[in-house]
C-alpha cells in the first residue's frame, strides 16, 4: 500500500451523516444585476462607471488613465471590439499603449503606471470581476501597476457565485475544464493592519476603476 493509499484509507467512512442538500441558492438572485454589481464594487472601494457601447467604454478608460496623470498604460488583449476604439482614443489623448498581456516578463509590467484589462466574466451579487488565466490576459496587469482599469461587458455579467461555478465547468465555454487560475477581484488592494486604519494599495493596485458597458 502506498503512502497515499494508507493516508486515505485511515480516514473514517460514515463517521458523520450528511443532511440532504438544501435546494436553491442561499440568496435570491439580484433583481437588477448591473446595478447590484456596481453598488457592490463601489462598497468594496472601486470607482465605477456605466457607459453605452464599446466605443464609449474605450474612451472612458483612456480618460481615466490620462486624468491620473499617466502617459503610458499596459494593455491586455481585449478583443477586436474594444481594441480598435481604444487605440483611436489613446492616439487622440496622447496616451501610449504598451502591449503587456500575460506571457510578458513581469519585470516589464512592474514599472507601468496603469493597466487596462477586460474581465472575462463578472458576478453581480458579490461585485466580482473575474479574470481567467490565458495568454494575453490581465493576470499581471491587474496586480502590478498602481492603477487598474477593468472593462466589463454587461453580457458577461453572471447573477451569482453559483453561476460562476457552473460557467467554469461548462465544457462549451472551457473545453479543457476549469482554467488553471481564476482571479476574483472585489476592490482595490487594502489593509487595516496598522492601528486598524484602512490603507489602499498595500500590494496590488490602490486604485481600481471599473467600466461597465453594454
Amino acid at each position: 500500500m502506498s503512502h497515499r493509499e494508507s493516508f486515505l484509507a485511515r480516514l473514517p467512512v460514515g463517521r458523520v451523516r450528511p443532511p440532504p442538500r438544501p435546494s436553491g441558492p442561499a440568496l435570491p438572485p439580484p433583481q437588477d444585476p448591473a446595478g447590484e454589481f456596481l453598488r457592490r464594487l463601489d462598497e468594496g472601494g472601486a470607482a465605477v462607471h456605466r457607459v453605452d457601447g464599446a466605443e464609449a467604454a474605450a474612451a472612458r478608460a483612456v480618460e481615466i488613465v490620462r486624468r491620473a496623470g499617466a502617459e503610458r498604460a499596459g494593455l491586455a488583449e481585449l478583443g477586436p471590439e474594444l481594441e480598435g476604439p481604444l487605440r483611436r482614443a489613446a492616439a487622440a489623448a496622447g496616451l501610449e499603449l504598451v502591449p503587456a498581456g500575460d506571457g510578458c516578463d513581469p519585470a516589464a509590467v512592474e514599472p507601468l503606471p496603469a493597466g487596462i484589462t477586460r474581465a472575462e466574466l463578472a458576478v453581480a451579487q458579490t461585485g466580482a470581476l473575474v479574470q481567467v488565466a490565458r495568454p494575453g490576459g490581465g493576470r499581471l496587469l491587474s496586480l502590478l501597476p498602481p492603477l487598474h482599469v477593468a472593462l466589463v461587458c454587461v453580457q458577461d455579467l453572471l447573477p451569482a457565485m453559483e453561476d460562476l461555478a457552473a460557467a467554469l465547468v461548462d465544457r462549451s465555454r472551457f473545453p479543457e475544464g476549469p482554467p488553471p487560475a481564476v482571479s476574483l477581484i472585489g476592490g482595490p488592494s487594502k489593509t487595516g493592519d496598522i492601528e486598524a486604519v484602512i490603507v489602499l494599495g498595500v500590494h496590488g493596485p490602490g486604485r481600481l476603476e471599473v467600466v461597465l458597458w453594454g
Binding site: 513581469p106 490576459g137 496586480l143
Partner: protein, 447 residues
C-alpha cells in the same frame, strides 16, 4: 489567563468592536445567516462523511492539471516536503502568505535553519515577523503595535520613515515588491478546496496571496485536510461566506481559484504547483466526539464575539489557535496539557450564535470540562462548597485562616520557593479575614 491591561487592552477592545460592527452591518439577518449555514454545513458534512474518497478525487484532478499532490501524516513530514521542494527550486528566499496551518507546522524555523529566508507578506505578519513576536489576532496580527513602534522597527531594518499608516504601508510595499519579483518559491495556505475540479481558494484583501501564487515560478499551497468541500459550487459558497462572517463583506478584494500550474494555456503564473495536504491529528479528531471543530473556516467570528478573548487576546491561549475555536482545537492537536483552555469561556453562547458553520463551541467546551481527568480541578471548589455549607466547619476554618493569612502576608514574598505558588503570590495580597461575621445567624449570639 491574564487580562490585557492599558493600551493593548484598549487596542484589542477597539479592534474586535470594529470587526463586530462590520459583521453586524453586513451579515446579521438571521434568515440569511441560516440559509448560508445550512448549505455550508451540508457541503462540509458530505465531504466529512467520505473524506478519503473526496481527497483522492482532489488529488487526481490536481495531478491531471499538471500539479503535484503530497500527503503528510504530521507536521514534520509536511515540513520536509516543503523544504525539499524549496531546495530543488534553488530557493534562497521564499515569499509566504498568512497561513495558520504553516504556523501549526512551525514551518518558518525549519526553512530558516536550512538557510532559506522566509518573508511573511501579509502586512501584519510582516510586522510581527520583524519584531520576532507571535501574531496577536488572526485577522490583525500586529493590531497591538502602535504606528510609532512600527516606524521604529521599519527604520531599524530598512530606512527612516514617518509614523503614518500610509507611509509605513508604502515602505512595506516597496520592500516586499522586490521580494515578490525575485523569490523562486511562493507559499500560501488554502481557505477551501473543491474536490470535483481540484481547485483551491486563496483569499486575501491585500493581494499578497495572489502575488505569492502568481509571480514565483513555484507555488506551494499547504492545507489541513478539513478544508475540502465536494464541488466547485461549494467552493463558491465558502468563498463568499468567509468574508461575510469575518467582515460582513460579500467578497474579499482578491480570491484566487487555482487548479494547477500555469501551463501553456495560461500565459502568466507558476510553472510548478504543489498541494500539501496535512493530517497532523485531524483524522483522529474526526473519529472522536469533537469532530464538529473540523467544520471551522477560521473566520475569527468566535474570537471577536468572545468576552474572554476580547479581554485576554490571542497569545494567552498559548499556541497558534485562539478564542473559543482555539480552546477546542489546541488540546486536540497539541495534547491534554492544554485542557485548561476549556475554562477560558463563560459559556455565554455568543460564539455558537455567530459561527457561520453553527459549530457548538460551548457544548464542546462544557464536554471537555466534564471529562474524567478533569475532575481533580474541581477538588478545591468542592472543598469550598463543603465548608461553606456547614456552619461549624466554616467557623473553624475562619478561626484557622485569620492568623494563617496574617502570618503569610507578613512573610516577604521573595522568601517563597520559586514556582507557581510564588508567581501567584507576587501579584496578590491576601484578604484580611474579618473578626465579625458578615451575616449574623438568626436569633444567635455572637461568640
Amino acid at each position: 489567563m491574564p487580562i490585557e491591561a492599558g493600551r493593548r487592552a484598549r487596542a484589542l477592545a477597539e479592534f474586535t468592536a470594529r470587526l463586530r460592527a462590520l459583521r453586524a452591518k453586513g451579515f446579521s439577518d438571521p434568515r440569511e445567516v441560516e440559509a448560508f449555514r445550512r448549505r455550508a454545513r451540508a457541503a462540509k458534512l458530505e465531504y466529512l462523511s467520505r473524506p478519503g474518497y473526496w481527497l483522492g478525487r482532489l488529488a487526481e484532478r490536481v495531478e491531471a492539471a499538471g500539479g503535484r499532490v503530497h500527503f503528510a501524516d504530521d507536521a514534520g513530514e509536511a515540513n520536509r516536503i516543503v523544504l525539499d521542494i524549496c531546495r530543488r527550486a534553488g530557493a534562497g528566499q521564499v515569499v509566504k502568505g498568512k497561513s495558520m496551518t504553516c504556523e501549526e507546522m512551525e514551518l518558518n524555523p525549519v526553512l530558516e535553519a536550512a538557510g532559506i529566508q522566509v518573508s511573511e507578506t501579509d502586512l501584519g505578519e510582516f510586522i510581527v515577523q520583524l519584531a520576532g513576536e507571535p501574531p496577536f489576532h488572526i485577522l490583525g496580527p500586529a493590531m497591538h503595535k502602535t504606528r510609532q513602534e512600527i516606524a521604529e522597527l521599519f527604520s531599524r531594518h530598512f530606512e527612516p520613515v514617518d509614523p503614518e499608516p500610509a507611509a509605513l504601508t508604502r515602505l512595506a510595499r516597496k520592500v516586499l515588491r522586490r521580494r515578490f519579483l525575485s523569490a523562486r518559491v511562493g507559499i500560501t495556505g488554502v481557505n477551501a478546496a473543491a474536490c470535483d475540479t481540484g481547485t483551491i481558494a486563496v483569499i486575501t484583501n491585500e493581494g499578497n496571496g495572489r502575488f505569492c501564487s502568481t509571480l514565483p515560478p513555484v507555488h506551494i499551497a499547504v492545507m489541513g485536510l478539513e478544508k475540502a468541500v465536494p464541488t466547485l459550487s461549494d467552493l463558491a459558497l465558502i468563498s463568499t461566506l468567509l468574508p461575510r462572517a469575518s467582515l460582513g463583506w460579500p467578497l474579499s478584494a482578491y480570491v484566487s481559484w487555482i487548479s494547477g500550474p500555469a501551463g501553456r494555456s495560461a500565459g502568466a503564473g507558476p510553472r510548478e504547483f504543489h498541494l500539501v495536504i496535512l493530517d497532523n491529528g485531524r483524522s483522529r479528531i474526526l473519529e472522536g466526539p469533537y469532530w464538529e471543530i473540523l467544520l471551522c473556516l477560521r473566520c475569527a467570528s468566535c474570537l471577536n464575539h468572545c468576552p474572554v478573548y476580547t479581554t485576554c487576546g490571542g497569545p494567552n491561549y498559548g499556541w497558534v489557535y485562539s478564542g473559543p475555536m482555539g480552546a477546542v482545537l489546541t488540546p486536540l492537536l497539541r495534547g491534554r496539557e492544554h485542557d485548561h483552555l476549556a475554562h477560558a469561556s463563560t459559556l455565554c453562547g455568543r460564539c455558537r450564535q455567530m459561527c457561520p458553520m453553527g459549530i457548538d463551541l460551548p457544548g464542546m467546551l462544557l464536554r471537555r470540562r466534564q471529562e474524567p481527568g478533569g475532575a481533580f480541578k474541581y477538588l478545591l471548589p468542592r472543598l469550598g462548597a463543603e465548608i461553606l455549607s456547614r456552619r461549624g466547619l466554616f467557623e473553624t476554618a475562619c478561626r484557622l485562616a485569620r492568623p494563617a493569612a496574617a502570618a503569610l502576608e507578613r512573610l516577604p514574598r521573595e522568601a517563597l520557593p520559586p514556582g507557581p505558588w510564588r508567581a501567584w503570590r507576587m501579584g496578590r495580597r491576601l484578604p484580611r479575614v474579618p473578626r465579625e461575621r458578615a451575616v449574623k445567624p438568626e436569633g444567635g449570639e455572637e461568640s
